[in-house]
């Protein structure tokens, strides 16, 4: 299972890539494995929207499950991945790359402290098993 070192992680299986004040968000390899074949993804926010901490930013559906994707930190949306709706399956094949969902500007970088680093997330996934 992949867990890129340069990312931050949440306990609900989202990842964040931090570049200055801009964060990119997606779901992890563990998440896509749990979901199995993704058939649908809808980004629920638009460019310019304000995000509250823990608000829902997207929904993903597979044949077996439906999941809400949340942002662990507050911000303002700067870009969304328009392509994703047309090829939701990249969430399975490239969860850390082409399956990025949105970029947003952080309102309070201090909130990042609650996120896990790669090692912590890996350990966390191991405790969960299935």
């Amino acid at each position: 299972m992949q867990t890129p070192q340069n990312l931050k992680y949440t306990s609900s299986d989202e990842w964040l890539l931090l570049e200055g004040k801009i964060a990119t968000l997606g779901v992890t390899d563990y998440a896509q494995d749990q979901l199995s074949d993704v058939v649908f993804c809808e980004i629920a926010v638009g460019v310019g929207d304000t995000l509250d901490k823990n608000s829902i930013v997207a929904t993903i559906e597979s044949v077996k499950a439906a999941a809400d994707v949340k942002t662990p930190v507050a911000g303002r949306v700067t870009e969304i991945n328009e392509e994703l709706a047309n090829m939701p399956e990249v969430i399975n094949t490239d969860p850390f790359g082409a399956a990025w969902m949105l970029k947003f500007e952080l309102s309070d970088p201090a909130e990042l402290d609650s996120l896990m680093d790669a090692e912590a997330y890996k350990a966390f996934c191991e405790t969960r098993g299935h």
Partner: protein, 487 residues
């Protein structure tokens, strides 16, 4: 092999059914509202008969064989029920006729209410909900209404054990409650310590399935209910597993405040390929006023010479109407017929043999499939459908392979607390022969898993169609045969 759709069979100009010519002078039609085109198929009667007859042959069904589906109670559907439900004196009655003209219907419904009360130990019953899920909704709505009537607005949480029936969490959140999960202990009972820690004055109630979806009767059920009652909460019983309790124990006696029945499970009304079901709800005395409206009551009591006048009663604090009219009447007639044919002894026999059959089946397969909870089961049991020495085989594969042995698979992947679960409920209407054949198939499959696993992984091989691409179905989303182009 593939049966064409009615649209593919259609041929312009074919007539399937003729009405008599109009016997009245024609009136002007409202030109601005006239439909330009009616894109419906055109088939002859023989086309329709052959098409649907062919489709029927592709279905597994109870009349063909066993459905060991846990918590579904797929028992035999008696044919006499079909005859009584079709009596013209029932089918030709309009729900809005004056009550004096439908005393037969109302008496039947009243008597059914009374019988269900007696069977379950409740003070009042509504026959209105159309299905188990709707019965549950009514149950949770009553819980909410009860607390509101006491001006107790703090109670926003509903406790649901992890061994609960599938619809319970959805029903709770639909009604505005927060769902709190309660784990089961090692014996498959509700974990009493955790329950005690979770119960406080913010808990509106507990939704308990007993026997639960592990097929186990909660050994502490009385205490569980008392804990919730002491904290001021109500206890809702999911009646999906009532088949194990008929004539054995009455949920009302055990302390349940509300329970829904599934007439299409416990009381033999047919599943019809997905409905219609019927989900009456029983309540204890203090909740009777909250039942949906209307219920059937006696408007004028009987005298020496005349029968009582039955009619509709609006409970004093009703939660309102949840369906048009009074309930799935045609289904109620079937359930009534069934209960009348059984009487108290017959009903008890149902529970006895349902439980006997499940335990017998378990005794035949327990060496081959891991049983996570070492207890006497009730009418169903749950085993694990995979084995540590063949990690590539999953419960799904066992299920699909059973079809090659001419059995419908059991419920799988539920309850969630058992890994790769196979939930098996034979019901009382299956003979020892059928159970032995089913057990033999399960044993064989356990062997095949080691010796020729691809038989399982690629199963089914002998069915009209093989494993279908569900991912493609969800992505392409073709939900109609043919839609005419819309400008």
């Amino acid at each position: 092999m593939t049966e064409p759709t009615i649209y593919e069979l259609s041929s312009p100009g074919r007539i399937g059914f003729r009405y008599p010519a109009p016997d009245v002078p024609e009136s002007a039609l409202p030109k601005e509202f006239m439909r330009q085109d009616l894109p419906m198929p055109e088939l002859a009667e023989v086309d329709v008969i052959r098409h649907f007859t062919h489709l029927s042959t592709l279905n597994y069904n109870i009349d063909k064989g066993l459905y060991p589906l846990g918590s579904c109670t797929m028992k035999y559907n008696p044919k006499i029920n079909e005859a009584t439900a079709r009596l013209p004196g029932f089918t030709f009655t309009h729900p809005l006729q004056p009550i004096e003209t439908v005393q037969g219907n109302l008496a039947l419904m009243y008597n059914l209410q009374e019988q269900l009360k007696e069977i379950s130990g409740f003070a009042a019953v509504t026959l209105q909900p159309s299905a188990g899920a709707q019965g549950e909704l009514v149950g949770v709505m009553i819980i909410r209404a009860y607390h509101r009537s006491r001006s107790d607005t703090k109670r926003t949480r509903i406790l649901i054990p992890d061994s609960a029936h599938g619809t319970n969490p959805a029903t709770s959140s639909m009604t505005g409650f927060e769902v709190v999960h309660v784990p089961s202990d090692a014996r498959g009972n509700v974990d009493l310590d955790v329950l005690k820690s979770l119960v406080d004055d913010t808990v509106a109630g507990l939704m308990l399935t007993n026997p639960n979806t592990l097929g186990l009767f909660d050994e502490n059920v009385i205490e569980v209910i008392e804990i919730v009652h002491k904290a001021g909460g109500l206890v809702y019983g999911d009646g999906a597993n009532l088949n194990a309790l008929l004539g054995i124990a009455r949920p009302g006696d055990l302390g349940f405040d509300i329970m829904h029945f599934n007439l299409h499970k416990t009381f033999s009304t047919p599943h019809g390929g997905g409905g219609p079901g019927s989900g009456p709800v029983g309540v204890c005395a203090k909740l009777a006023d909250f039942l949906p409206s209307p219920i059937i009551g006696i408007i004028e009591p009987a005298t020496e010479e005349i029968a009582p006048l039955y009619g509709f009663v609006t409970p004093a604090k009703t939660i309102g109407r949840v369906k048009s009219f009074y309930g799935q009447f045609g289904v109620l007639v079937r359930a009534y017929t069934y209960i009348r044919m059984h009487g108290p002894e017959g009903l008890r026999k149902i529970a006895e043999y349902a439980v006997l059959n499940a335990n017998y089946l378990l005794s035949r397969v327990r060496e081959y499939y891991h049983l996570p909870y070492e207890r006497t089961c009730m009418h169903e049991f749950v085993v694990e459908g995979n084995w540590p020495d063949v990690p590539d085989i999953h419960a799904l594969d066992d299920a699909k392979r059973l079809m090659d042995y001419n059995f419908h698979p059991p419920t799988n992947y539920f309850p969630l607390i058992v890994h790769e679960a196979l939930m098996i409920e034979p019901t009382e209407s299956e003979s020892k022969q059928t159970l032995d054949a089913f057990a033999d198939a399960l044993v064989k499959i356990a062997e095949e898993a080691r010796v020729s696993p691809e038989l399982l992984r690629e199963a089914p091989h002998n069915t009209p169609i093989s494993r279908l691409d569900e991912v493609k179905a969800a992505k392409d989303l073709v939900l109609c045969c043919w839609i005419p182009d819309q400008e």
